[in-house]
Subunit: 316 residues, 2 copies
């Protein structure tokens, strides 16, 4: 269990630890998207990861880093969906129980995903406070070990392996874009670029309707979003102390986009890459398209974070 | 230009010829689909191929096999969509003109795909006769070279490379399933299994609403479908003499499915593999699910043929 910011070796070790259990996801590209963006874009398809999201990496790494004796009473977490599935998957692989506190408005495919992995589901009000109280009660009752969705160095080291694989295939990237919610993926991506690339700068895309990270990035303190109203349901949480510190050190900028731009980017991915992504996952591409001049003629990597979308709610 | 049934060496040569221009598409799998099917299924994702379909392989192979002096007046073909895009792509790479005769009811994404590749588009009535007449007129007028969508040994050898790549990654497959329209992909898959696998048996899925191949397979003559009515718009054509001969020699069985089964399989792929496929592409998985007992506990490959679907027409 890591007690400080993951080192290069920590990320390499984490990668070896989770490799047997995760998909080596493909890297896709599209001539039409390249043309539209004015640069070469390489999409790391974590929507094609186990449980349909990069969160499998962090959840598995954190669970597998714990001593077996510690986890025999089970794992628990709170999450709007993808991290919940990651912890449920880890518990299943380790043959222990999983207790998941989920907001009552979590998307149906994510709820079904958790249930189908055999986890015990506890619904709560869709606030951070209710989620944290829910987890507290579970721990008192069961003795299960809590795995935080992002304020956890092992989770961060796990998420870092997505961009590590991308750089193994495309070592000459000038930039890497990731979405930012709690900052687990973004801080991991920042560390990976720092350790494994000579030149790649890391940028985040963030929804205007959950614009906490951009404020925290500037002030240096964990800030709340002025308001919450966005289709990107996976990016609603604030940063944590741990993720903010790494992001301030390793990320170049955080770029804001609105829901219309997010949905246009989502459509572009559906139509040209022929893959299914959730709205949160379209945020970095929307940010790239909005800031074309920054990335002109560059080689740009984008982490496509997840594909757990309620298809019945999408219209084109 | 091949004058007889492609040999093992012909398929290997074809693969090397087209490799620089095609995507090495990923092979995906899903624990949930495996569970549901009672076997291990490996999906070769040709929906993630250039132009969104396996047809890029055959079209490019046929065009690149022709002497440069032969094609300076351009390439032409008739197609409901994916082969049209393949020929348009080949013409673009070879810097010659492409003339495409398309039925007036071709799906919009396929029409747009052809136009965006710079081809000249000629619409015709949605009958085979109208398509063939359209091509005849083009050849008389322009001197362009016709590339048939499937009654062409170079096209067949190109399509064969999809299952060749699949077998390179999964050499122990017990069975491979492909959809059947004109039979280019199916005959290529049959040849590949014969040449490159010790045990893989090849099966086709065919829509009940375009059930010509199953009749031809039995009678040994090219038959027409009793009626045409299916969502699988890419599988409407009859076999040809060339494809039928190979299919009779190399394919184990042709399995019929109805539109409801096709759309259920399509939904399963969207939700679990997180990729976009067109209805024609869901036919082999529907056939597998309908005939589970045939494939029980086996390792099964499925060629996912294409992803060019009009998303505005899909509802879940």
């Amino acid at each position: 269990m890591l007690q400080s910011i993951p080192s290069k070796l920590d990320i390499m070790t984490s990668h070896e630890r989770i490799k047997p259990y995760i998909n080596r996801t493909p890297v896709l590209s599209s001539d039409k998207i390249n043309e539209l963006c004015g640069c070469e874009v390489f999409f790391k398809c974590e929507n094609l990861q186990k449980i349909g999201a990069f969160k499998a990496r962090g959840g598995l790494n954190a669970a597998l880093s714990l001593d077996k004796s510690l986890i025999e009473k089970g794992l628990c977490t709170h999450s709007s969906g993808n991290h919940a599935q990651a912890v449920a998957l880890a518990a299943k692989l380790l043959h222990v129980k999983a207790y998941i506190v989920m907001p009552s408005n979590a998307p149906k495919p994510k709820v079904n995903g958790v249930l189908s992995l055999g986890a015990e589901l506890i619904f709560c009000e869709p606030t951070l406070e209710a989620r944290e109280n829910g987890v507290k009660k579970i721990i008192e009752k069961t003795g299960a070990v809590f795995i935080h969705p992002f304020d956890n160095y092992d989770v961060i080291a796990g998420q870092a392996t997505a961009s590590k694989e991308l750089l193994e295939e495309q070592p000459d990237l000038d930039a890497i874009l990731a979405p930012v919610g709690g900052g687990g993926l973004l801080s991991g991506t920042g560390l990976t670029a720092k350790y494994f690339s000579k030149k790649a700068k890391v940028y985040a895309g963030e929804p205007e309707g959950a614009a906490d990270a951009v404020l925290s990035f500037k002030s240096g303190k964990v800030e709340k979003a002025p308001f919450i109203n966005t289709v990107a349901d996976g990016l609603l949480t604030n940063l944590s102390e741990k993720t903010l510190e790494i992001i301030r050190d390793t990320v170049r900028d955080i770029l804001l986009v609105n829901d219309e731009e997010i949905m246009a980017a989502l459509k572009l991915v559906f139509e040209n890459l022929k893959i299914i992504i959730e709205p949160s996952c379209a945020v970095p591409l929307a940010a790239l398209i909005k800031n074309k001049e920054v990335f002109k003629n560059q080689q740009v990597g984008i982490i496509l974070s997840g594909g757990n979308v309620d298809l019945s709610k999408l219209t084109f």
